[in-house]
Symmetry: C2
Subunit: 534 residues, 2 copies
């Protein structure tokens, strides 16, 4: 390939080589970023330099016992990274499993929500519900561990124009299931038409040259699928009422909804749900269940996780931390001592644990609210969404309580499937959460059946989770309100003597695994630097 290299490239590579000789790999990495060869996301990930085993004598590291509270993604990351550098870590985990909210519900999984009877998952073998996180943006740090651990992944179908919008009480289109492409084509069509005409008729005072206005109109024509006279009259983008086929079967494009109908439907407001930075395609998930991620960490942390250990008190001295925990098997209270403690326990749980935190930290912990979030998995005898409606993954959005239906982004064309019958937040989640398991199931099936009448015939089993009612979590994810990020949050981010908080709540990537990982890495770096200084 020497012959195809440009002079510019040559000099850039020579430059990098020179930098490498002077400053090592990290320097090359940094320069590559400056030259635009690496994205901000890559550079972000590179911010973290794992503690180097060679930086400390073995005696110094070996002498440092780190107690980690919680085997969620933050605790696992901290134990893994510190362990790689030779630190002696122990994770205390109340449950019999690692992962925390990263939880794949499978046949036999049980849960007793607070104040409710035990629920047992009756899904067929191989089928599962990812009750917590279920998708990973391709640029999140989470992908680094997937790569490092060789976890098989597949796309998570977060966008599917063949799925539906379905709204009630929205005028003409109430109670109609509309393929997303129909609403998208019509909304973009009408708005582009209005705009294109306004621009071309000089109705708007725009800071653009005539040539730029022409370009803007040309864009609006492509964006809206407008005809030569800038009218939107429907296009195949919205689908057909009669599909095209062989020979003379040219197909018949569907008739667009009226502009009034589409505006009143509210469907347009759903479009931007796909625009969010962390919702844009492509997204991924582990093959076979999201728990492949904690499982991969667990495999590398053999003997370092104490399960069934419910933390009851955190006590600090000038030289260390003592954590008391109840062993849920024997019922006895035990204690463990260490130099430092990393506490990843969600704040609504932590606030009820006895701890000698400073008053400022205590108050900060007490003040933070968590988001409501609930999911239900519905197993069906038949993947009718694929067989009858050609919907392979993606989600249907609705203004009913169930909010959304997610079609399984895996196991295509298999016989059965577990569909996410609702993924609800806020008030909808609270309403559904207040129901019994049976009531939630009935509600999910009845509302879902308005979109998919096949529900009634094909439904087999459900499992629902209301995160506010799940012991050891008590919420979906942190939800800072008002000016809390400026007032109490900074206190949470600082160590309280020898205790460091970590988890998605100690990040600006809340509700994502990446937030837990990034916050754990920050704590790992801090503890290591502190130990090195000692």
């Amino acid at each position: 390939m020497e012959t195809t290299k440009t002079a510019k490239e040559m000099s850039r590579r020579q430059f990098l080589t020179t930098v490498g000789k002077l400053g090592g790999g990290a320097a090359v990495f940094s320069v590559m970023g400056t030259l635009g060869l690496l994205s901000p996301e890559t550079l972000k990930a590179a911010d973290f330099v794992p503690p180097d085993m060679n930086e400390l004598s073995m005696s110094k590291r070996g002498g440092k016992k780190i107690i980690i509270l919680g085997a969620g993604i933050a605790g696992l990351t901290a134990a893994y990274e510190l362990g790689q550098a030779g630190y002696d870590c122990t994770i205390l985990e109340a449950r019999a499993r690692s992962g925390g909210r990263i939880w794949s519900v499978r046949r036999g999984t049980t849960v007793a929500e607070i104040g409710a009877s035990k629920q047992v998952a009756r899904f067929d073998d191989g089928l599962y519900l990812n009750a917590g996180p279920m998708r990973i943006p391709q640029f999140h740090v989470t992908m680094e561990y997937i790569r490092k651990f060789g976890i098989p992944i597949e796309p998570f179908n977060n966008v599917n124009d063949h799925a539906y919008y379905y709204n009630e009480d929205v005028g003409e289109l109430s109670g109609q299931k509309i393929r997303k492409r129909e609403a998208k084509a019509d909304v973009r069509g009408y708005v582009s038409e209005l705009m294109a005409k306004a621009v071309s008729q000089q109705a708007l005072d725009l800071p653009l040259t005539a040539e730029e206005k022409e370009k803007l109109v040309a864009y609006l024509r492509t964006e809206g699928g407008l005809d030569a006279d800038l009218f939107y009259k429907g296009t195949s983008r919205g689908g057909y009422k009669d599909e095209p086929g062989a020979r003379l079967d040219a197909g018949v494009v569907r008739d667009p909804f009226s502009m009034k109908a589409i505006i009143n439907s509210g469907f347009g407001n759903y479009l931007s749900s796909e625009y969010g930075y962390d919702q844009q395609m492509m997204m991924f998930h582990p093959v076979g269940g999201i728990d492949a991620i904690p499982n991969a960490f667990e495999k590398r942390l053999k003997g370092k996780i104490q399960y069934h250990a419910e933390v009851v008190e955190i006590k600090q001295s000038d030289s260390g931390v003592t954590v008391f925990f109840k062993h849920l098997g024997t019922g006895e209270t035990r204690k463990i001592e260490g130099e430092y403690c990393i506490c990843t326990i969600p704040l609504p749980v932590l606030k009820s644990i006895k701890a000698d935190f400073s008053p400022g930290m205590k108050q900060a912990i007490d003040s933070i609210g968590y988001a409501s979030a609930g999911k239900i998995g519905l197993q069906f005898k038949r993947r009718f969404w694929e067989e009858d409606e050609q919907i392979y993954g993606g989600n249907t959005l609705t203004n009913m309580d169930i909010s959304s239906i997610y079609y399984p982004p895996t196991g295509y064309m298999q016989k059965k499937g577990v569909l996410l019958g609702y993924y609800a937040f806020g008030a909808n989640a609270d309403k559904l959460g207040a129901m019994t398991f049976r009531e939630r199931e009935a509600h999910a099936v009845n509302q879902g059946a308005k979109i998919h009448p096949q529900y009634h015939k094909e439904f087999e089993a459900s499992f629902s989770v209301d995160w506010k009612r799940i012991k050891y979590n008590l919420g979906g994810w942190v939800s800072y309100s008002g000016d809390q990020r400026q007032t109490v949050y900074p206190t949470l981010c600082k160590p309280d003597r020898r205790v460091y908080l970590a988890g998605e709540h100690i990040s600006y990537i809340t509700a994502w695994m990446a937030g837990g990982i990034e916050s754990a890495r920050a704590v790992v770096t801090d503890i290591h630097q502190r130990v090195m200084k000692e």
Copy 2:
């Protein structure tokens, strides 16, 4: 579930059951469609009723020999469906493989384009280039055979906001690679801002009530990511210049480009490339290569495909068809006789084959043009697009000759990968096609390296295809011009005595496997009905 069934549902089901008793499964299917339980796509697929083996006596069917010309998807479908009904089919195929344009180029694959020397694929084992079709809309009939034959599939990442737009000679943003999300956020932001202000300031004469105008403005606010005063000032949808992270690292949202810059860039015109009916997510492809589709047919057509058989003449009589073909192994000319012939040979090839077609058919065949299309697969030592730039599948679009770069939608996080270095049509395809293999490779690498400087260091091997120069194809897909669909096309759709044409060119789903399948099914139905009438 009896308790959760609504009265409405009950009566619907009772109705269906009654219909089923009266009219059988097909009647239920048709009624389900009328009730909106099935999509137009499903109903379309159901249009085809495969010939029933029991409709004809064995002697009648066995006596009907069908000669099929070409083992592409149309020929394979026809042979499979007719074979299921007991017809005696033979496919003549000039190549040593089935599939036609459905072609996965792997290590050792060779091709000699017309007027060029032989090209040998040097890809590593397991890596491949899908030189022809590479993706399947989830609602295409192709999915039926994938389901029937149990072909493993995975998503084809047709949309990826983390990939780039890159244009030259477009003003301020010339020669900059822009994440798609940046352009999308800015285009939608500015246009929504202009529109929202025009609506709210009553600058436009709209046939909407005040309440509807409010809804329109609310939509524009969400669509554009506008602030409370309807200004677009950039949002996280477009990404960050400094990613958010742990603790106090809130991140810094990127600065939007200026409205003028983004309008002049032409990036806005790329957005609608994702809106096309057959380009919308989700799309799929077989795991391990698109040739899994013809291979699955081939397995079910053992002994029915005569390879190395180059058709040299088609001759009809009142009672049958005789096809003469040159066996490319022995060089001898052989003949085969049958009652009917299904000819799937692409028209630019067919027009040079001696045939006693009617003058109208001959003229029609001669008159049709085919599209130019070319691809190059580039194998790289390292999947730098994933490692350095977090791009997992999807495509980058550019106004350079290469037109697009497609990142492999498979094998994520493996060491190496074959990336589609260009997929070009029309004039760009012609320009690239006119080059030697080496020149194409150099051009693809040099232009691609403007977007991915890593190209120069990581490139290993290429394989390129220009479909106009591929023997037995001589074009990408049919391209009817002007009023040809009204004038000559109907002639192609009718049998010429005992010869029926099939292929994507005999459909309104041109350039897609589904077009070949649908057209084959139409011919199968016609021949079967004709035989039954005899």
